[in-house]
C-alpha cells in the first residue's frame, strides 16, 4: 500500500489538473465563505439596528412618561400619551421584531434567504414578515448565488471525477495495464488503493481549506455541527469516488468513463431535481396568490359588513373585558377595530389552508423523493444546518403569530380595562424569546 501511495503521489504531483486543483479548491472555498460571512454580518447588523430602534422607542416613551408624571411635560392628544397601552403596543414604532437569528454555520449556505424574509414585526393587529429585500433584481434569484453549498454540492464532484475517471482506463490506454496485471496484487486492489489515495488527497485538501478559512472568518467548525459537516463532506466525496470506481471496473475507455460520470453528474444534479420539482408541483398544485388576494379582501369586506354584529357577539362572550359607561371615543372605536382584526386574522388563517396544505404535501413528497439525488439531499442538509432552508424561513410566520398571542395577552386586557402604564411596568413589556 505504501509503495502504491508513493507511486500515486509521484504520478499526480506532476499532473496539471492536480496542481490546478491545489490552487482553485482553496480559493473557491475561501471566496464562498467570505461571501457567506459578509451576508451573515449584514444580517447581524440589521438585527442589531432594529433592536436598537426598538429599545430607543421604549426608552423615549419611558422618559416621556416620567417627565409627564413629574409635571415637566404634557401630551396634547390621547395617541401621544406614553402610558396608553395602544401607544406602546400598536402605533408608529411600537411593537417588537421577531428574528430568525443566523445559526453558527449560516455562512455555509444562502439557501432561500433571497426569497424569504428572516424577520418580521408584531403589533396588536399585524404579525407580518418584513420583505426588506423586495426591491432586489429578480434576475439574481433566477441566476442563484455563489456559496459554500454550491462549491461542495456542484463543483467538488467534478474535481473528483477529474481525479478518478481514468485511474485504470488510462493504464490500459498507455499500455501499462499488462504490467499491472503481472504484479502480485489484484487489479481491483490497485484500483482501490489508487482511489483511496486520491480520495485522501482531495478530501484532505477540502477539509483543511474549510477549517483554515472557517478559522479566518470565525466560523466554529470544532463543534458537533462542524464535525457533522466534515463527516458529510467526506461521505459526499467518497460517494463520487465510488461512482468513479464502478466506471473504472468496467473495461471502458477514459472518454466513455468521462462521458458516463459527467452524465451521472447531470442526472443527479439537474435532471432528477428538475423532475422532482415537476412531479411535486403537478401532483400538489398550489393556487395562484392572485386568488388569495381577492379572498383576503372578501374576508375584510365581510367583516366590515358585519361590523356591529361581530362586536355584539364578542361582547356576549367577553362581557368582563369591556368597560361600559363613559369611556373615551378612541376606546369605543379601537375595541371594535381590535375585535374585527382578530376576526379577520382567524378567517385568513383558515383561508390560508388552501395554500398551506398543498405546500406541506409538496414539501413532504419532495423530501421523500430527495433520496434519488444525494446532491439534493446534501443541499437540503446544508441549508438546514445554515438555517436558510425554506421550512425554517417559513416558520417565521408561526413565530410571529406565537409572539403576537403573547403580545395580545399582555396588552389587550390592559387596554380593555384602560389600565394605563406606570414607569415601573415598562420592564414587563414582553420580548420574543
Amino acid at each position: 500500500m505504501k509503495d502504491l501511495f508513493l507511486f500515486e503521489w509521484r504520478h499526480i504531483r506532476n499532473s496539471g489538473s492536480f496542481l490546478g486543483m491545489l490552487v482553485i479548491i482553496p480559493l473557491l472555498i475561501g471566496f464562498s465563505l467570505h461571501l457567506g460571512n459578509e451576508r451573515v454580518n449584514q444580517q447581524l447588523e440589521t438585527i442589531s439596528q432594529l433592536r436598537e430602534m426598538e429599545e430607543t422607542f421604549y426608552y423615549d416613551k419611558l422618559n416621556e412618561l416620567k417627565a409627564i408624571e413629574a409635571g415637566e411635560a404634557e401630551y396634547n392628544a390621547w395617541w401621544q400619551n406614553p402610558a396608553n397601552p395602544l401607544v406602546l403596543a400598536q402605533f408608529n414604532q411600537a411593537g417588537r421584531h421577531v428574528f430568525l437569528e443566523p445559526k453558527p454555520l449560516s455562512a455555509l449556505a444562502s439557501g432561500q434567504l433571497d426569497i424569504f424574509p428572516y424577520y418580521g414585526k408584531v403589533t396588536l393587529t399585524t404579525a407580518d414578515p418584513l420583505r426588506d429585500n423586495a426591491l432586489e433584481n429578480p434576475f439574481m434569484q433566477v441566476a442563484g448565488s455563489f456559496d459554500f453549498a454550491f462549491v461542495l454540492v456542484w463543483l467538488i464532484p467534478l474535481f473528483v471525477i477529474v481525479m478518478g475517471y481514468n485511474v485504470i482506463s488510462s493504464e490500459r490506454e498507455n499500455g501499462t495495464y499488462a504490467l499491472l496485471q503481472s504484479q502480485p496484487i489484484a487489479i481491483k486492489k490497485i484500483l482501490f488503493y489508487k482511489l483511496l489515495f486520491r480520495f485522501l488527497v482531495i478530501s484532505g485538501l477540502i477539509v483543511i481549506s474549510l477549517i483554515l478559512w472557517a478559522l479566518v472568518y470565525g466560523i466554529n467548525v470544532f463543534s458537533i455541527s462542524g464535525l457533522q459537516l466534515i463527516s458529510i463532506v467526506l461521505l459526499y466525496i467518497a460517494f463520487w469516488f465510488c461512482l468513479c470506481a464502478i466506471f473504472n471496473l468496467y473495461q471502458t475507455s477514459s472518454a466513455v468513463n468521462a462521458v458516463g460520470l459527467a452524465g451521472l453528474w447531470v442526472i443527479l444534479l439537474l435532471v432528477i431535481p428538475a423532475l422532482i420539482s415537476l412531479i411535486v408541483s403537478t401532483v400538489h398544485p398550489i393556487p395562484s396568490r392572485a386568488i388569495w388576494i381577492t379572498e383576503q379582501r372578501a374576508i375584510q369586506q365581510d367583516v366590515q359588513a358585519q361590523g356591529e354584529e361581530l362586536f355584539d357577539l364578542w361582547l356576549v362572550d367577553h362581557p368582563e373585558e369591556f368597560l361600559e359607561g363613559d369611556t373615551p371615543q378612541f376606546y369605543q372605536s379601537w375595541v371594535r377595530r381590535l375585535v374585527w382584526a382578530e376576526n379577520i386574522a382567524e378567517r385568513e388563517q383558515k383561508a390560508e389552508r388552501i395554500f398551506e396544505e398543498p405546500r406541506i404535501r409538496q414539501s413532504e413528497m419532495a423530501s421523500r423523493l430527495r433520496f434519488l439525488s444525494p446532491p439534493m439531499a446534501l443541499q437540503t442538509w446544508l441549508e438546514r444546518k445554515a438555517g436558510s432552508d425554506a421550512e425554517r424561513l417559513r416558520s417565521l410566520d408561526q413565530e410571529l403569530k406565537r409572539f403576537q398571542s403573547e403580545w395580545q395577552v399582555f396588552f389587550l386586557p390592559r387596554f380593555y380595562r384602560l389600565d394605563f402604564f406606570t414607569p415601573d411596568e415598562f420592564d414587563l413589556i414582553p420580548r420574543p424569546s
Partner: protein, 473 residues
C-alpha cells in the same frame, strides 16, 4: 459535395450511435413534458388571474357607500397576466410578485411571487424549455461532438481521408454540418410543437414572432456550442482532454460565471432595503427632492395660486371642493417623488444587468438567457412595463375619485359626502396589455449583440483551428 458526404456520414453515425440516440430521445421527452406541463400551468394560472381580476373589480364596485377618498385608501389590485411565452421561457416571471396593491398616496411594489409557494427543489433546476436549451442541449452537443474530429485521428482514419484528397476545411465543415443535422432533428419537433400550441391557443402574431425570434436566439447559442465543440475536438490531442476541456467550459458558462456575477452585482450595485427606500421617500416628501420644494411649501403655493386664480380669499369660497383638488395635486406630487426613487432602483437593476451582459463575454449562456427572456417578454423590462402601466392606472383612478370629491362634495354635501356603487362601477378598470411589437431597448439588445459576437468568435476559432497543421498529424 465532399462536405455534404462527410456531414451525411456523420449524421448516420449519430443516428446509429445508441448513446446519442438514447440521449436525444430522452431530451425530446423532457422537452415534450416541459412544454405539456408548461401549457397546463399557463392555462391554470391564466384562468385564476382572470378570475382574480374579475373578483377584484366586483369587490371595487361593491365596496359600499363611502367617501371617494376612503375608497382611494381601500384601493384595488393590478394583476400581472401570465405570458403565453412563459411556457417556453419563464424568465423572471416566477420571482416577481403577481399583483400590486393600488392605493392613495403610495406606490407599492408587486407582492406574492410564485417562487414563495414553490418547493425549494426548483432552485436546483426547473424543467422548462429554456432550462433544457441553456443547460442540457449544450451538454448533448458536447457529448455527441467531442470526439468527432479527434476520433478520426485516434482511429487513423484521417490519414486515409487525407489520401483521398479531403482537406481540413472539408472535414471540419462536414463534422460541423453533421452536428447541426442532429441538432435540427431535435429542435425541429420543438419548433413545430411550439407553433402548433401558439396557433391552438389563439395567440397573437406578435407572440408567434417572438417565439420564432426566441428560437433563433437558441439556434445561435447552439451554433456557438457546436463551433466550440468541433474546434476543441480538432485542437486537442485526445478525446479525454476534449471532454474535460469542453465540460470545464460548460461549467464556467452555465454555472460558475452566472453565480459569481450575482454576488458581484449585489456587492457592486447594492439595492437599498425597503425600509430605507420608504424612509428616503418620506424624507423627500417632507423636505423635497434634494431639499427643494417640500410638500408643505408646494401645497401652500398651490392653494395660493388657486385663490388668486378664482379671486377669493378662502378655499371655502371656491365653487368646488378644494380638498378634492388638493388631494389630486398631492397625488401628483407624491407620484413624482415615488417615480424619482423607483427610477433610482431601476437604474441599479440596469447596472446589475449591464454587469451580467459584460460578463457574458465569459459565458454565452448568460447572453442567451438574457436575450431569450428579453424577446419572450419575461424579463425585468417586461415586468417594469406592467408596473408602469399599473401606476398610470392608479393615478388615473385616483384622479377620478378626487375629481368626484372636488365637483360633488360642495355646498351642504361637504360634510359626510359619500358616493356608491353606481359611481364605482363607472370608474376605469385595468387590464394589462402587453406591447404588440417587439421593442427592445439598448440594454436588451446588448446581450443579443454579445451572443452574435460569440457566434462569430467561435466561428473564427473554428477556422483558425482548422487551418492549424496539427489537425492532420
Amino acid at each position: 459535395m465532399v462536405v455534404l458526404s462527410i456531414a451525411k456520414n456523420e449524421l448516420k453515425k449519430y443516428v446509429r450511435d445508441n448513446v446519442v440516440t438514447t440521449l436525444g430521445i430522452f431530451l425530446l421527452l423532457l422537452l415534450s413534458v416541459s412544454v405539456y406541463t408548461g401549457v397546463t400551468y399557463y392555462k391554470s394560472m391564466a384562468e385564476q388571474h382572470a378570475i382574480a381580476e374579475e373578483v377584484a373589480r366586483i369587490q371595487w364596485e361593491n365596496q359600499g357607500e363611502k367617501n371617494p377618498h376612503s375608497a382611494a385608501h381601500y384601493g384595488t389590485f393590478a394583476f400581472k397576466p401570465v405570458s403565453i411565452l412563459s411556457v417556453f421561457d419563464p424568465g423572471v416571471d416566477k420571482y416577481t410578485g403577481v399583483s400590486i396593491f393600488l392605493e392613495a398616496h403610495r406606490q407599492n411594489f408587486a407582492a406574492n411571487s410564485i417562487a414563495e409557494d414553490k418547493d425549494s427543489a426548483r432552485r436546483f433546476a426547473e424543467l422548462t424549455p429554456s432550462f433544457i436549451f441553456a443547460y442540457l442541449f449544450p451538454l448533448f452537443l458536447i457529448l455527441a461532438g467531442f470526439r468527432s474530429v479527434i476520433s478520426e485521428k485516434e482511429s487513423g482514419m484521417y490519414r486515409f481521408l487525407k489520401s483521398q484528397g479531403v482537406t481540413n476545411f472539408q472535414l471540419v465543415s462536414g463534422k460541423t454540418l453533421g452536428l447541426w443535422g442532429i441538432l435540427i432533428l431535435l429542435f425541429l419537433p420543438f419548433l413545430l410543437i411550439g407553433i402548433f400550441f401558439l396557433m391552438l391557443t389563439d395567440s397573437s402574431q406578435n407572440d408567434v414572432f417572438r417565439f420564432l425570434l426566441t428560437a433563433g436566439i437558441w439556434l445561435i447559442y447552439f451554433g456557438i456550442i457546436i463551433n466550440i465543440t468541433i474546434a476543441v475536438s480538432a485542437w486537442v490531442k485526445s478525446s479525454g482532454s476534449a471532454m474535460i476541456l469542453l465540460l470545464t467550459l460548460w461549467i464556467l458558462s452555465t454555472l460558475l460565471v452566472p453565480r459569481l456575477i450575482t454576488n458581484l452585482a449585489t456587492n457592486i450595485y447594492p439595492v437599498p432595503n425597503t425600509s430605507d427606500f420608504y424612509q428616503a421617500i418620506r424624507t423627500d416628501l417632507l423636505e423635497g427632492i434634494d431639499g427643494h420644494n417640500p410638500y408643505s411649501e408646494h401645497s401652500a403655493a398651490f392653494r395660493d395660486s388657486i385663490l388668486v386664480a378664482y379671486g377669493v380669499e378662502d378655499v371655502s369660497e371656491l365653487p368646488f371642493n378644494f380638498r378634492g383638488l388638493m388631494l389630486q395635486e398631492g397625488e401628483e406630487f407624491e407620484k413624482r417623488i415615488y417615480d424619482h426613487h423607483f427610477a433610482k432602483i431601476d437604474a441599479i437593476h440596469q447596472q446589475q444587468i449591464g454587469l451580467f451582459t459584460v460578463s457574458s463575454v465569459l459565458s454565452p449562456t448568460l447572453a442567451a438567457r438574457l436575450s431569450s427572456m428579453a424577446i419572450a417578454g419575461t424579463d425585468m423590462h417586461a415586468f417594469n412595463h406592467f408596473t408602469a402601466d399599473a401606476e398610470e392606472y392608479r393615478i388615473s383612478l385616483m384622479r377620478e375619485l378626487n375629481m368626484d370629491l372636488k365637483l360633488n362634495a360642495v355646498g351642504d354635501r361637504v360634510v359626510g359626502y359619500t358616493t356608491g356603487s353606481d359611481f364605482f362601477a363607472q370608474n376605469i378598470s385595468f387590464t394589462y396589455e402587453r406591447p404588440d411589437r417587439v421593442l427592445l431597448d439598448r440594454s436588451q439588445l446588448s446581450p443579443i449583440l454579445m451572443l452574435i459576437f460569440w457566434f462569430f468568435l467561435s466561428a473564427v476559432m473554428l477556422i483558425v483551428v482548422t487551418k492549424r497543421s496539427e489537425v492532420v498529424t
